[in-house]
């Protein structure tokens, strides 16, 4: 049954993990510094766009950003990103009103289609912004997603 082999093939803690566990390597060092670390630390959308190098991004309809009009809960908001621009190298996803605007960055090689789906947390209703880097230039689109409080709130 497909599910069982997957479990068997799994590898537990990576090399880094075991080193950490043995205390040889300080967690700080092992923190795989993300390429866009300062962009992730940026608070506002403007700062994050600037840190990614995309503040002058041109609006484009060749970026497909699919997100619900209303998310019944901000903890899981399904996002689909697809770039129709040729030579797409990178797609970055921002949620403007989150504490840190930049949520994720995806880097593509020619062996992967410039299309991903994931789910993000949204603290409140906000614009979701997608930035694409293609042929060395930046493009951008956005969509508003309303987040509502579903249950009895109590």
């Amino acid at each position: 049954m497909q599910r069982r082999e997957v479990l068997k093939a799994g590898v537990g803690l990576g090399v880094f993990g075991t080193l950490i566990a043995s205390g040889l390597v300080q967690p700080r060092l092992a923190h795989a510094a993300r390429q866009m670390e300062n962009a992730f630390q940026a608070k506002s959308l403007e700062e994050a766009l600037k840190a990614v190098g995309a503040s002058g991004a041109a609006a484009s309809n060749d970026i497909v950003l699919t997100a619900p009009d209303i998310a019944e809960n901000g903890a899981v908001v399904p996002i689909e990103l697809e770039s129709k621009l040729p030579n797409t190298e990178m797609i970055a996803l921002f949620v403007e009103k989150n504490p840190n605007a930049l949520s994720a960055v995806f880097h593509f090689t020619p062996e992967a289609l410039p299309r991903v789906k994931t789910r993000v947390k949204m603290g409140q209703s906000s614009d979701v912004v997608a930035v694409v880097k293609a042929g060395g230039k930046y493009y951008m689109t956005k969509k508003e997603v309303k987040v509502t409080l579903g249950g009895c709130g109590g």
Binding site: I70, C152, G153, G154
Partner: protein, 208 residues
């Protein structure tokens, strides 16, 4: 928050033999089932499972049992006696505080503690400020409540009584007895009334 006084509007349910029609054996089994299945946790005492007289009657009615209409009217009149008007004669409080109470559904659960500030949870069942998309429909829309009805003494008393104890109008109403059951304080009810009646309140300002 003063402890919850079980408004003894009627004799505690277990005592009155208002059994469901024709099955005393099942009644005994049911009472025993409830007794062994529930427990006290935090502020939620096991005694909460003891029904008040109207709770017992309305349970039977809603389950499709035949219930004597005279009994319903008799218990409704008893509920009327529980109404307490505002001690200083002022019905309207601060609508901004009222909005918080209407939005909050907290309080009185076993995961709350005695100093949790109870909310009214009005938005669970009612539309109020039309700009708030997340509202329930178990109760009627209250949008534009004051704008549409004005705030004569009669209208203020009607709204106050509905909030204090809606069972005084309709014995088996789904609306909790916010005043009589000690869910909201008098000041909190004044603030909710402010939210309903104050022209500055979004309930009225956003009403189209």
């Amino acid at each position: 928050m003063k402890p919850i006084t079980l408004a003894l509007a009627g004799v505690l349910g277990f005592a009155t033999p208002l059994a469901w029609a024709g099955n005393a054996d099942l009644d005994a089994k049911f009472k025993e089932l409830v007794d062994r299945s529930f427990k006290t946790t935090g502020i939620a005492q096991k005694e909460r499972m003891i029904q008040l007289d109207f709770q017992k009657l309305c349970s039977a009615l809603e389950a499709g049992e035949k219930v004597d209409p005279k009994k319903i009217e008799e218990l409704r009149q008893a509920q009327e006696q529980t109404i307490r008007w505002p001690s200083d004669g002022k019905f309207l409080g601060n609508w901004k505080e009222g909005e918080k109470i209407a939005q909050s559904g907290r309080g009185l659960t076993w995961t709350d503690n005695p100093d949790t500030v109870n909310g009214g949870g009005c938005y669970n069942c009612h539309q109020m400020d039309q700009k708030e998309l997340s509202y329930g429909n178990i109760g009627p829309s209250l949008s534009g409540y004051g704008k549409l009805r004005g705030n004569s003494e009669e209208v203020l008393k009607y709204a106050w009584r509905q909030i204090w104890n809606s069972k005084s109008f309709n014995l088996c109403s789904s609306m909790p007895r916010f005043g009589d059951a000690g869910i909201l304080t008098e000041q909190q009810i004044k603030d909710v009334m402010g939210y309903l009646f104050d022209p500055e309140s979004p309930v009225n300002k956003n009403h189209k």
